[in-house]
Symmetry: C2
Subunit: 153 residues, 2 copies
DNA sequence: CCACGATGGTTGAACGCTCAACCAAATGAC
DNA sequence: GTCATTTGGTTGAGCGTTCAACCATCGTGG
């Protein structure tokens, strides 16, 4: 028994293409701005943000990977670079000898603090300024639904 | 005069983080599926799609870059790989000696045709199946607004 | 007609991500 | 206690993207 492909109807096509174009353009723009103004890609910025929000500004590698929506491998490479930049330091975990703890350094925090206003301004300009309050609400619900759906599958 | 940063309020924060998580998870998933099932990343799939929709299945490099939302450089590298795979062929442009035309080969078309059902199924499962018809409509409007806004700035 | 700027496209180096392989430590079964 | 499995994390190779530099050709003003 062959399952027929459930092709996209014209509305879905249009939606999917618009979504692709918009999300690519948005992330490309923000990534370029961040690279230009702060010397780091958005993925690295997000790692620093997650660390900065944590008591002690530190997190187990695994937890940090989960928080940043990253694979272990990606995070490992990323933290290696962030460490070379002096923004993060690695420490051994006292309770689990396999564990590593990534710690945001003062220099990393300062770099983040310097980068944040410009980046937030970018997010506002490129995303929120273009949408009505109702659309922002819709986008939140849609995104939460999708994120939920994707982690369950 | 120093402009104060217009920080995100809690709702906007939540929206932005949900959006980031969802779009990253969605594209990561689709990219992985496409790589596994068709041996190409999503960006390359999209290039083949654009070519396939065109009369003669060919496009000037510039036009193709625009259609695929890609930089010239990215496209140049990508087409080089697609050419090595035998899915695309380059031809000289008869009317402009600077120009290059990317042509989808029969083999490229066949590969695309083989990959499409699985990919479309993925888009449906991971995106449309999770959303109500109203949400799909909202997502389309939001995306079109954003895409428009981003190309104007 | 020619000089100059704009356009079309490519290239190579640097960088980030993915994938699979790998090691070490923890956990659980017997 | 010992062995197998799972978990935590790293590594290196291969690939795709970016950025800046570059070359060739086109179009235009003078």
């Amino acid at each position: 028994m062959v399952a027929m492909t459930r092709w996209l109807d014209p509305d879905e096509q249009r939606t999917w293409r618009a979504y692709l174009a918009a999300s690519r353009a948005l992330m490309d723009t923000l990534d370029r701005e961040l690279q230009r103004d702060a010397g780091m890609p958005h993925a690295y910025y997000e790692i620093l943000v997650r660390l900065s929000e944590t008591p002690g500004r530190q997190l187990r590698m695994s937890d940090l990977a989960e928080a940043a929506g990253s694979s272990r491998s990606r995070l490992s490479h990323a933290v290696a670079r962030l460490e070379a930049a002096g923004w993060v330091r690695r420490e051994d975990c006292p309770t689990d000898r396999r564990g590593q703890i990534a710690v945001l350094t003062d220099e990393g925090f300062a770099t983040l603090a310097a980068a944040a206003p410009g980046h937030v301004e970018g997010v506002r300009r490129h995303l929120f300024d273009a949408l009505s309050p109702a659309q922002v609400d819709q986008l939140r619900r849609i995104s939460e639904t999708l994120a939920e759906h994707l982690t369950r599958s």
